[in-house]
Symmetry: C2
Subunit: 270 residues, 2 copies
């Protein structure tokens, strides 16, 4: 099974409606260039700023952001991995990725499971847990293309989560994410490549473009890595669009030739 | 706590006695240059060849290789992570790393836990399980310098094992290893860096130098990575010796600034 994925590295600003329009424009462009699954970045409708999440948060049932995504999905018969947006539910705010099929239905949502609390000396400082609540579910969805795992940004740092996803059959793991100018250069590429190598899956990172005027500076560098750990596509810090063909046959091949998953010593780990 | 580690990238040949002498020479040189812990490569006393392990295998109680290591440890008051050798015990052969303290006592041994069975198209083919048995124990030892985890080569591919080691307090993970000319360029650096980043430990890979006349061609590239994922030292394919100062304060700092280990969602994983 071969198909094309579009990874939208859009710039986000403080203007929510403008962000929604930008996302829409990227989806249209990705579709025009052949994408059958379109991926948006983390927090694509708002700045990445703990103090702002509440003001930008939307409820699932009347979200204007989701309305746009559903309409685009239906219009173009395309699957959309909706990056993430701040979602409010029963008074709590989550960093949530909505996944929409080509009929415009929400087939899953992933709420970021590991919150980003960090205080690097002379580097990044961020306390997501001040305002966000964490999700409790591993997200792997069936599509006509592949079984796809979705997690968000900091979630990728925990090898346990990718393992749980491959237990559920994930062949592709998509990670809307916004690393920063400290952790990006140090860790971004290595984490995507290592998760691909260990789990023998395609790894896809979808980041906002770098906005130097924002309080949090996204690293950008959206990336597609194959199950051997090879980088197939990678952007720099600017806005851009990756259109990349994925081939599930490669997942099968690497797992047959280098049988890591069945070589695990589950008898020891458990 | 700061101390110096010596990583010996020696060439192995078919001549076992010559290999033992080479290892001895490397240990002496490492000590002379200030190493307090000396690390040898995987299968340092024999060629890396499944068909040969039996012929080179030694018993723990009368091993001439261990005799040399113990004598060196006592003579120089140095800890030795004895790479690995083929060990025979009750009719089974193991790929075993003996760990010797500065009094010449064997304080632990790690038997390779994941056996290397691989068949890459147009690349490497190897079936370790044809002749070797696997160990069943996670190896983390206390020394006066640090708590040190030891595993062997293919073991590094399984993120579960490093997690078990940090559960037991490992601050440094040492991996005698012999990747090859297929998996080395593709995966070696990324795996060492990712395990360091995920587990916030020093990762040390100790490989044999490349011997182009051998049936199995070692990649070399012995490496020391700090807990941020930064490469502190790395060799090429030739014989060579790394002398590198490690500083446990860095382990403490990275775990405090980027608290990954305590951010794990053990409630979900289990």
């Amino acid at each position: 099974m071969k198909f094309k994925i579009g990874v939208c590295q859009m710039m986000t600003t403080e203007d929510k409606l403008s962000n929604i329009c930008t996302a829409q424009r990227f989806i249209e462009e990705a579709v025009k260039r052949g994408a059958q699954i379109v991926v948006l970045p983390e927090m694509f409708n708002c700045p990445y700023d703990s103090d702002l999440f509440q003001g930008y948060a939307e409820r699932q049932h009347d979200s204007i952001t989701l309305k746009m995504l559903k309409e685009e999905a239906i219009k173009h018969k395309v699957h959309i991995i909706g990056g993430s947006i701040p979602e409010i539910d029963a008074g709590k705010i989550y960093n949530t990725s909505f996944i929409i099929n080509s009929s415009g239905e929400i087939i899953a949502k992933h709420r970021k499971m590991h919150l980003f609390d960090v205080q690097v000396e002379d580097g990044i400082s961020f306390m997501e847990s001040k305002t966000l609540s964490s999700g409790d579910n591993v997200t792997v969805i069936d599509t006509k293309f592949a079984r796809i795992g979705v997690c968000i940004c900091f979630d990728i740092r925990f090898p346990e989560l990718c393992r749980l996803m491959i237990e559920q059959g994930a062949q592709i793991i998509i990670v809307p994410a916004s690393f920063n100018m400290t952790t990006g250069p140090m860790h971004w590429e290595t984490l995507f490549r290592a998760r691909a190598i260990d789990n023998q899956v395609y790894m896809i990172g979808s980041a906002p473009a770098t906005n130097r005027e924002a309080s949090y500076t996204s690293y950008g560098n959206s990336i597609v890595v194959d199950p051997w750990g090879k980088i197939l596509a990678r952007l720099d810090s600017n806005e851009g669009l990756i259109i990349q063909e994925l081939n599930l046959e490669v997942v099968r091949e690497v797992r047959e030739q280098l049988p890591l998953i069945k070589a695990r010593r589950l008898d020891i780990y458990n």
